[in-house]
C-alpha cells in the first residue's frame, strides 16, 4: 500500500507539531514509551512492518486499527511477550526486550482478556502479583481494590466474577505497581455502555494524575472520545500519527439531511452547487446514526454553507426535519488517508 499525497501531508503536519512539542519535552525527560522501527516476521510473513511512535507522560494515546491489523501483536511486543524481529521498545529509556525486569516495572497492562486465577479470590490474585515486584504491600492492594470499586467482592473467588468485574480486577492488577504507563488492549470489549462510560472517566482521571495510558481500539469514536493523540495501524504499518481531532477534521465529514418531503429536498440538494449528494458513501457511515434518521440523504458540504442551504430548502417548502454532521468512521478516515487504495487493494 502506498500512502497518497494527502495522507503524507497529514503525517508531516502531525510529526511537525510533535517535533516542536517533543523537543521541548525532551529536554526534561525521555518519552514514557518509545517504539523505534519495530518489525515482526512470523513464519516468513511480515506481521508488523517498521512501526515507530512515542507516548509522552500524562497523555492518553490511541492505537487504532481494524481487527487483524497487528494491534495485539504490537502490544505483545511492548510488554515482552513477543520478541521483535528488529527494532526496539523503550519504556522510560529501558529496553523492554533486553531488561524486562527494569522496563516492565513502569508498566501495567492488560493484553486482550484480563485472565486471572479463577480458583483464587480477587485479593489472593492481587497478592500474588504484588509479590512479584518490590514494595507493594497490603495497603496498596487495598487501595487499588478501592480505586476500581471492587472492595466489596475482593474476597470472593474470581470464577464468580462477571466480565466487568474481571476487567476491573485486571486494571487493579495493572495499577498495583503505580506504573508510569498503562497499556489497555481493547478495554471496552464486552462492557455495557454504562461500563464503557465509567472506564472512560476512569482513564481520564488516571491521565490527569500524570499516568500515560495507551489504549488500542478498532472504533474511531472510542479513540476520539478518549485520546489526545493516535497512531493508526493497518496491515502491520502505521499509516498516520497525530492529533485525533485534527485528523478527523481532515477526513471528509458527511452531513445527513432529513426532509418532510424527501423528493423535493433531494432535488434542491442536487441542484445546489455547494452540496455534493454522496449516496455512494452510505456504506461508510455509522449504522446507528443512519438508523436514527431513516431516509436521510448523505451529502458532503462545507460547514459554513449549511445555513444557506437550509434557508433555501425551507424557502422551497421541502420542510427540513434534521441536519446532522456525522463523525467520520474509521473506514472513511482510511479512505482519506490512503486515497481509496485500501479498498482497491482488497485488504
Amino acid at each position: 500500500m502506498r500512502t497518497n499525497a494527502k495522507a503524507r501531508d497529514l503525517m508531516d503536519k502531525a510529526s511537525e507539531s510533535t517535533d516542536t512539542e517533543g523537543a521541548m519535552l525532551a529536554r526534561h525527560e525521555p518519552p514514557v514509551l518509545s517504539v523505534e522501527r519495530l518489525s515482526k516476521t512470523i513464519r516468513g510473513r511480515k506481521i508488523i512492518d517498521d512501526i515507530s511512535f512515542d507516548v509522552r507522560a500524562g497523555e492518553i494515546y490511541g492505537f487504532l486499527g481494524p481487527n487483524g491489523s497487528g494491534k495485539t501483536t504490537t502490544i505483545r511486543m511492548l510488554v515482552d511477550l513477543i520478541k521483535p524481529t528488529s527494532g526496539r521498545v523503550l519504556v522510560c529509556g529501558e529496553d523492554v526486550n533486553k531488561h524486562p525486569e527494569r522496563a516492565l516495572r513502569h508498566v501495567g497492562c492488560i493484553v486482550e482478556n484480563p485472565e486471572m486465577y479463577g480458583y483464587m479470590t480477587g485479593w489472593e490474585n492481587l497478592d500474588l502479583f504484588a509479590r512479584m515486584q518490590e514494595g507493594i504491600g497490603d495497603a496498596r492492594i487495598e487501595e487499588v481494590a478501592r480505586i476500581v470499586r471492587l472492595d466489596a467482592r475482593i474476597h470472593d473467588k474470581v470464577k464468580t466474577y462477571s466480565l466487568g468485574m474481571r476487567q476491573r480486577l485486571g486494571i487493579a492488577q495493572a495499577l498495583l505497581g503505580a506504573p508510569k504507563l498503562l497499556i489497555l488492549d481493547e478495554p471496552t470489549n464486552g462492557l455495557d455502555p454504562k461500563g464503557i462510560k465509567e472506564l472512560r472517566a476512569f482513564i481520564a482521571e488516571l491521565a490527569a494524575e500524570g499516568m500515560s495510558v495507551f489504549v488500542s481500539s478498532h472504533l474511531l469514536s472510542e479513540i476520539q472520545l478518549l485520546c489526545d493523540r493516535v497512531a493508526i495501524i493497518d496491515g502491520g504499518r502505521v499509516i498516520a500519527v497525530g492529533d485525533v481531532n485534527e485528523m478527523i477534521a481532515q477526513a471528509e465529514a458527511h452531513t445527513l439531511w432529513l426532509f418532510e418531503d424527501p423528493e423535493a429536498g433531494r432535488r434542491i440538494l442536487a441542484e445546489d452547487p455547494r452540496v455534493d449528494v454522496a449516496e455512494r458513501d452510505r456504506a461508510l457511515l455509522d449504522e446507528s446514526v443512519l438508523l436514527a434518521l431513516p431516509g436521510a440523504v448523505p451529502t458532503r458540504v462545507r460547514q459554513d454553507d449549511i445555513p444557506g442551504v437550509v434557508a433555501r430548502c425551507a424557502a422551497a417548502g421541502a420542510g427540513v426535519l434534521a441536519v446532522q454532521r456525522v463523525v467520520p468512521t474509521l473506514e472513511s478516515l482510511f479512505l482519506t488517508l490512503t486515497g481509496g487504495e485500501r479498498d482497491a487493494s482488497g485488504s
Binding site: 524486562p100 516492565l104 483464587m120 489472593e124 500474588l128 509479590r131 512479584m132 505497581g177
Partner: protein, 328 residues
C-alpha cells in the same frame, strides 16, 4: 533472592489452591486400604497353611525349582526365578524371616511396586500442568509482563515441582505406614534385610551381601524412588512447556511412562532400549537384587541415563521458555 522466595511461594500457593495435592492424598487414602486388605488376606491364607515360616519358605523354593525344570517358561522368567530362589535360600540359611508382616515391610513392598507406575502418575498430576495451565488459562500474559526475568519464573516453578514431588513421596510412605500399621502393627524398623545380591549371568554372587535394618532400607528405597520420580517430573515439566494444553501434556507423559513398563517386559533382546528413560524408572530392582529388565543395566547405568534425560529436559525447558513468543 527474596524475590525468588516470593516467586516460589506464589507457585506453591497456586498448586495448593488448585487442590492438586488434596486429590493425591485422597487417592492414597482410598487405594492404600485396598492394598492393605489384599496383603492381609494373603497373610491369613498362608498362616492357615503353615505353622512355621521356614516350612513356607522351603515350599516356595521347591515350587520355583519345579517351575524351572519346565520347558514352557521363557528364558528371562527363569533367570528371575533363579535369583529369587537363591535369595530365599540365603534367608533360610541365616534363619531370617523375609516376610514378617509389619507396617515397615508393607511400606517397602508398596514403594517397590509403586515406583514404576503409581508414583509417576501421581507426580504427573502436578508436573503436567504447572506451566501449560498458565498458557491454557491465559494467565501467562500477566505472569510474564511483571518485572521478573522469564528464567526466574520458570526456576520458581521447577523448585516448587521438586518440593511437591518430595512431599508426594513422603506422604505416600506415611499413608502406607499409618494405614497398614492398623492391621500389621507399627513395628519392624530394626528387622534385617539383606542387600548387595549381585547377578553374574545366572549365578547369584553373595559375596557382597550384608544386612541393613528395614528402616535404613526404606530410606535407601525412598532416595531411589525420588530420583526416578524427579526424572519423570522434569520430563513432564518440559512437555508442559512445549505443549499448550494440559490434557495433551498429561496424555503424552502417561503414554511414555506406561509404554516404559510394557517395554521393560518385552525388550530383553532389544538392547539399545536401555537408553530410554522409561525402562530405567524401576530403580528398586537393583536394591532387591532381581535381574534388570535388559541385560547390562546396573544401578549406576540407570542413574546416569535418568540424569542425562533430566538434564536435557531442564535445558530444553529453559531454552524454549525464555525465548518463545506468547502469541495466544
Amino acid at each position: 533472592m527474596r524475590r525468588d522466595l516470593e516467586l516460589i511461594r506464589n507457585e506453591t500457593v497456586k498448586v495448593w489452591k488448585k487442590k492438586r495435592f488434596a486429590v493425591i492424598v485422597l487417592i492414597l487414602l482410598a487405594l492404600v486400604p485396598v492394598f492393605v486388605y489384599a496383603q492381609m488376606k494373603i497373610a491369613q491364607s498362608s498362616q492357615g497353611k503353615y505353622t512355621d515360616w521356614r516350612a513356607e519358605l522351603r515350599q516356595r523354593i521347591a515350587d520355583n525349582n519345579n517351575a524351572l525344570t519346565s520347558d514352557r517358561i521363557p528364558e528371562e522368567w527363569k533367570k528371575w526365578r533363579v535369583a529369587l530362589v537363591q535369595q530365599l535360600q540365603y534367608y533360610l540359611d541365616r534363619d531370617v524371616n523375609p516376610n514378617t508382616p509389619n507396617a515397615v515391610r508393607f511400606t517397602n513392598t508398596f514403594l517397590q511396586n509403586a515406583v514404576g507406575l503409581f508414583i509417576p502418575l501421581m507426580v504427573l498430576a502436578v508436573a503436567s500442568d504447572i506451566v501449560s495451565s498458565e498458557r491454557a488459562g491465559g494467565t501467562i500474559k500477566m505472569l510474564l509482563t511483571r518485572p521478573v526475568r522469564r528464567w526466574r519464573v520458570l526456576a520458581s516453578k521447577l523448585v516448587t515441582l521438586t518440593m511437591y514431588v518430595s512431599l508426594i513421596l513422603v506422604t505416600t510412605a506415611a499413608v502406607s505406614y499409618l494405614v497398614s500399621g492398623l492391621v500389621f502393627g507399627y513395628g519392624g524398623w530394626r528387622e534385617p534385610v539383606f542387600v548387595g545380591f549381585r547377578l553374574n549371568g545366572s549365578d547369584m554372587d553373595t559375596s557382597g551381601v550384608h544386612a541393613v535394618t528395614q528402616g535404613a532400607y526404606m530410606l535407601m528405597q525412598l532416595g531411589l524412588v525420588w530420583f526416578s520420580a524427579m526424572t519423570v517430573a522434569v520430563i513432564a515439566f518440559m512437555v508442559s512447556v512445549l505443549v499448550r494444553s494440559t490434557a495433551a501434556s498429561l496424555v503424552t507423559m502417561m503414554a511414555a511412562v506406561i509404554s516404559g513398563s510394557i517395554l521393560a517386559n518385552m525388550a530383553s533382546s532389544w538392547h539399545s532400549a536401555k537408553y530410554l528413560f522409561n525402562v530405567n524408572l524401576d530403580l528398586s530392582v537393583y536394591l532387591q537384587g532381581s535381574p534388570p529388565p535388559i541385560e547390562g543395566m546396573t544401578l549406576g547405568f540407570s542413574l546416569v541415563v535418568l540424569a542425562v534425560w533430566a538434564a536435557a529436559a531442564i535445558a530444553v525447558s529453559f531454552a524454549v521458555f525464555t525465548r518463545q513468543d506468547i502469541l495466544a
